[in-house]
Every structure is written in structure tokens, then in C-alpha cells.
């Protein structure tokens, strides 16, 4: 079983994100592996530990975006590759998906590609499906459980978490899987793992290495990024001598203000 996990480096979710001169800034907040991607790495490692094989983490980003890959290596991934090229700056998901699909192609003989549900920065949640479409492989998104995996038969059965409930889907492999947080509890990197990761050579693949000319030009433009208008809420504190009195007043206020 050969598994690729696509990871991204993002600002920590606790970061205060602001706009300065039209550019997004997260101050001194650390860049970390996208939280969703940790679940993807964990699930790939669990499958490898059960069925054998190898896990390759790949990330598309600037030259210094290696922390996410080191985290995946420290968790136990066998290899990591940074996909980086000046030609890849400013891509939208259309371009990103074409680069990642080429990356999966270069890893070669891949059975499964894992993604986190979305990245916490651009938050689109469409890259996994787009990579699947480019590869011509089925997309299994919002996966909360891998029910069974039959390597010789080339099938995978998963449980997906939809708004309407849980759905079981079986699919041929190779396939692209994106996971939700319920799927597992990601391990903390071990001390040994961190040491191994800090010494690991992380090769860089460029557009030429991937046999890509110019990836698709962005189809979209972002003319403006701005902070949402501060909602001026003055909290009206409801007080009283007993819970019943407070509850009654609150219920009356909600009705008066036509909230309900």
C-alpha cells in the first residue's frame, strides 16, 4: 500500500489574523501543519501500520514551508517532498490541484491520497475533489471512518459524515480520501520522531521535475481582503433573584425583540 498525504502549512488557529496593506498578517503566530491534515497523516500511518507499505507526505508551498512536512515525518511518515517553484506562487485551487496531481503522479504507484477536510486559511475544502478529478480517481470526502480496506481486491469502504447523517460508500482504489476530525486522534510526534525529522533530507520538486510547464493561470482574483465590520453589541445582562425570574425576563426580552 502506497499512501500519499497532502499537507499544508497554515497559521495556528489561535492566531489573530488581520489585514495590513491589503495582505493577510498573523503577526508572530507560529506556522503549523494545517490542523485537519494531522488527521490525514494519522489515518495514513494507521493503515500502513496495519497493512504495510509506505507513507509519503507532500506539500506545495514556498521554500521555507517545511514545518508541516517535518511534523508529518516526526509523526512517522517515511518520506516527505516539498513541491516548490516560483511559477507556483499565487495559484488558486485550479492550479494547486494540477500541481498536486502531478506530484502524486511522480510519486507513482499510489493507492490512496489523503487530505484534511479543508485548510484553515483559505478554507475552501475543494482541493481533494479537484485532485481526484484530475487523476480520474474517485473522491471520498468527509470520511469519518475507514470501514475496510482490501488491498488485493483494490477496494476501500468508508463512512462519510454528511449533514443528513452517516453514509457508507465503497470505492475502487486508487482513490482520494479527505478526512474529518472524528476519524482518529492524531499522535504526538515522539522524541525519536522529531530527531529523525530534523535530520531528514526533504527533496524539492520544481515545475520542471513534475514535467509541468506553466500550471493553469488563476481563474479568480481577490480584489479585496478585509476584516468583517465590528458588530457593536452591547450585552444586556439579565439579572434577578431566582433562576426562574431571570429566565422569565430573558424569555420576555427575546419575544419583545422578535428574536423568537
Amino acid at each position: 500500500m502506497k499512501i500519499v498525504v497532502c499537507v499544508k502549512q497554515t497559521p495556528d488557529t489561535a492566531a489573530t489574523v488581520t489585514v495590513e496593506d491589503g495582505k493577510v498578517s498573523w503577526g508572530d503566530a507560529p506556522l503549523v501543519i494545517n490542523p485537519w491534515d494531522e488527521y490525514a497523516v494519522e489515518e495514513a500511518l494507521r493503515i500502513k501500520e496495519q497493512d504495510g507499505g509506505s507513507v509519503v507526505a507532500i506539500s506545495l508551498g514556498p521554500e521555507d514551508a517545511r514545518e508541516a512536512l517535518k511534523h508529518a515525518l516526526a509523526m512517522g511518515a517515511d518520506e516527505a517532498v516539498l513541491i516548490s517553484d516560483p511559477a507556483f506562487a499565487g495559484l488558486d485551487s485550479l492550479g494547486v490541484s494540477s500541481v498536486l496531481a502531478a506530484g502524486v503522479g511522480k510519486v507513482a504507484d499510489v493507492d490512496l491520497v489523503f487530505f484534511g477536510r479543508a485548510s484553515v486559511d483559505s478554507d475552501t475544502g475543494i482541493t481533494g475533489s479537484q485532485v481526484a478529478r484530475r487523476l480520474g480517481w474517485p473522491a471520498l470526502t468527509l470520511v469519518s471512518k475507514v470501514d475496510s480496506l482490501d488491498e488485493s481486491g483494490g477496494t476501500i469502504t468508508v463512512e462519510r459524515m454528511l449533514e443528513e447523517g452517516r453514509q457508507q460508500v465503497s470505492s475502487s482504489m486508487p482513490a482520494v480520501v479527505s478526512v474529518v476530525k472524528e476519524i482518529n486522534e492524531p499522535r504526538y510526534p515522539s522524541f525519536m520522531g522529531i530527531r529523525k525529522a530534523s535530520r531528514a533530507e526533504i527533496p524539492v520538486w520544481t515545475a520542471a521535475d513534475l514535467g509541468l510547464g506553466q500550471p493553469p493561470e488563476p481563474a479568480l482574483a481577490w480584489p479585496e481582503i478585509f476584516a468583517p465590520a465590528k458588530v457593536e453589541t452591547q450585552c444586556e445582562f439579565i439579572e434577578g433573584d431566582t433562576p426562574e425570574e431571570i429566565a422569565g425576563k430573558l424569555a420576555d426580552r427575546l419575544l419583545e425583540e422578535k428574536v423568537i
Binding site: S129, E163, E217, C235, F237, I260
Partner: protein, 345 residues
């Protein structure tokens, strides 16, 4: 090429999502500024009834693709089916769901065009459609425009646009479209029992519980539970029953903070926040939730926020319209009773 606006009607088990009609309404609004017709797109095995409902909700015409391969939604055959219709459109609007996120993504690849998911606002500026979508979990907003590739694909977030009233007297053409659909490589095997209650993202009222659900000092756990963690979870279950009762009286859905989910008080499907669901109900009641930045990111666009928390300094009160500083285990059941009385009859 036409200037018509195409709207995909998302449906599950024969029922359209309310957000599908919200999308038709948003398209109507754009059409009134840009001109052109609103054309609904309905895919499925046997969906002519939905086509009629789409016209009632404001579509001028419907394109319909019916095929046994579309009996259960899988994104690959649906993308194949949508391709010929999408290829003739300039603007293609979806409601947002787990299905449409996949479908819009794949059609974007098929037609090498851009996809902007989770749009919360639309405007027309100099004849160009400008979409606004949250990034960094709503900490920032980004305006998005197409650089000219067609169609510009948008998915609209549930409850961000008003739902039009149906008008059964409206009429319009329903046109069948042929599409080449490849046999899918994946198959829906079935469904486990749906999570009880109202869908979080569509709910007009959401009542959420946080860490505080487990600290009811008045509860005595059953004698056969001695493990501290098990006692905590047992208490939390009782606390969430209070939350559920309140939600029930208001016809709302039950949410939870990440802290409550991580502590195994309630399944992840209830989580509201940056790594959970983003909700935007008319009324959000936060019970025993302090309001970590990641939680606020998932509910800050709620119209009215009520916070019930012991700690007067909890950040949740900064967003709240109404606040009660007190023990949720006293206030929530009392509020349930007070509302039940006032809402009956």
C-alpha cells in the same frame, strides 16, 4: 453563451435543500440587475417534480438530466451530467452542502474555471459579479471575482441569502439535456441512522453546550460509576439533556464547543467552530461556553446571541446581545420552562 444565471438544485432523498431555493432567490436578485433568465439545473434519476418546484421558487426555465446512474449522488457521475449545461453558462450558482462542494470542485476542473465556495454576499459592480466569502474561518472576508474564464462557479452558504416564497402559479419550460455519464467507480452502500434532530447549518435556532455542561454540583452520579472521567461524562450527558430540551422547545439544533467534543461529551458532528461547522442562525444560545476564538469563528454571524456562563469575564459576552451570569444548570431548565409557557398556544 448567454447571460443567463444557472442554479444547481441540490436534493437528498427527493427533497431539495432549503439552501437550493435561497440560491434561486439570490440568482433572481442578480438577474434583476444583470438581465437574463434564471435557469435551474436538476439532476437525478427521476426529478421532474423538483423541476416544477424550482420554477415555483423563481426559476424561469429548468434544465434536467435524468439517468439511472444518478439515482444516488456520487460526485463523478453528477459532474459528468452537469458538464454540458455548465459549459453553456457564464455564472453557475450552487447552494453549499457536502455534495455540492465536491460537484462544484469537479466541474471547475472539467471546465478549467474558478470555484468560490461558501459565499455569503453577492453584489454587481460595473456589470461584474463580486462574491464575498469568509477566509481564516471568518476572521477575514475576501472579495472574489472571475478573471474571465467561464463559468464563474459559486456555492452560497446556507442561510446567508433569503429564501423566496414558492408561487405555484409560475410556469416555465423544462428542457431535458443529454449527457455522457461514465459508470462510477464508487457506490453508496447505505446510511446509518441519521443524527437526531434538526440539521445544524439549516437551523434557525442553535443551542450549544460547552465545558460547563459537566459541572452541575447538584448531581450525584450513580453508585456503580467510580472512575472520575466516567463521572464527568455522565454529568455532561445530563447537562446536554438540558441543552437538548431548550433546543426542542425552540425547534432548534444542538451544537457544542470543541472543548465539549474533545472531552467526549457529545459527537463531533455537533461541533461548532473553526474545525467544526459554521452556523448562522437567527438565535444562538451558548450555554457554559466561554468563547474561544475558534468557537466564535463558527457562530459570530448569528443574528442574536445569548450567552449563559458563570464567568462574567468570558469572551462570549462580548458578542452576546443578551447575557446571564449564572449557573447554566439553573438557568437553562428555567428558560426552557419559561419559553414553553410563553410559546404554547
Amino acid at each position: 453563451m448567454t447571460e443567463d444565471i444557472y442554479v444547481y438544485i441540490d436534493h437528498f432523498k427527493g427533497e431539495a435543500l432549503p439552501a437550493s431555493w435561497e440560491a434561486v432567490g439570490a440568482a433572481r436578485q442578480l438577474a434583476s440587475e444583470l438581465g437574463g433568465k434564471v435557469i435551474a439545473v436538476v439532476l437525478g434519476e427521476s426529478v421532474s417534480e423538483l423541476a416544477g418546484t424550482a420554477i415555483a421558487h423563481g426559476a424561469d426555465e429548468v434544465r434536467i438530466v435524468e439517468d439511472p446512474l444518478l439515482a444516488e449522488f456520487r460526485p463523478e457521475p453528477y459532474a459528468d451530467a452537469l458538464k454540458p449545461v455548465a459549459a453553456e453558462s457564464e455564472l453557475l450558482i450552487f447552494p453549499t452542502s457536502g455534495r455540492t462542494r465536491e460537484l462544484a470542485a469537479m466541474v471547475g476542473v472539467d471546465l478549467e474555471t474558478g470555484v468560490a465556495p461558501d459565499v455569503i454576499a453577492l453584489e454587481v459592480d460595473g456589470g461584474q459579479v463580486v462574491a464575498t466569502r469568509p477566509i481564516y474561518a471568518g476572521k477575514l472576508l475576501s472579495k472574489i471575482v472571475s478573471k474571465g474564464k467561464k463559468p464563474f462557479i459559486l456555492t452560497l452558504r446556507s442561510r446567508a441569502f433569503p429564501k423566496p416564497e414558492a408561487d405555484a402559479s409560475r410556469s416555465g419550460d423544462i428542457v431535458s439535456v443529454e449527457a455522457e455519464i461514465a459508470a462510477p467507480k464508487s457506490e453508496v452502500k447505505g446510511y446509518s441512522e441519521a443524527e437526531a434532530g434538526v440539521s445544524l447549518t439549516d437551523a434557525a435556532v442553535v443551542v450549544s453546550g460547552g465545558r460547563g455542561v459537566s459541572n452541575n454540583p447538584k448531581l450525584t452520579p450513580p453508585a456503580d460509576i467510580s472512575d472520575e472521567k466516567e463521572i464527568e461524562i455522565w454529568k455532561a450527558r445530563q447537562g446536554f439533556e438540558e441543552v437538548e430540551e431548550l433546543a426542542k422547545v425552540l425547534g432548534g439544533a444542538v451544537g457544542a464547543s470543541r472543548a465539549a467534543v474533545d472531552a467526549n461529551y457529545i459527537p463531533y458532528s455537533h461541533q461548532v467552530g473553526q474545525t467544526g461547522k459554521v452556523v448562522s442562525p437567527d438565535l444562538y444560545i451558548a450555554c457554559g461556553i466561554s468563547g474561544a476564538i475558534q468557537h466564535l469563528a463558527g457562530m459570530r454571524t448569528s443574528k442574536t446571541i445569548v450567552a449563559i456562563n458563570k464567568d462574567a469575564d468570558a469572551p462570549i459576552f462580548k458578542l452576546a446581545r443578551f447575557g446571564v451570569v449564572g449557573d447554566m444548570h439553573e438557568i437553562v431548565p428555567a428558560l426552557t420552562e419559561a419559553l414553553r409557557e410563553r410559546l404554547k398556544g
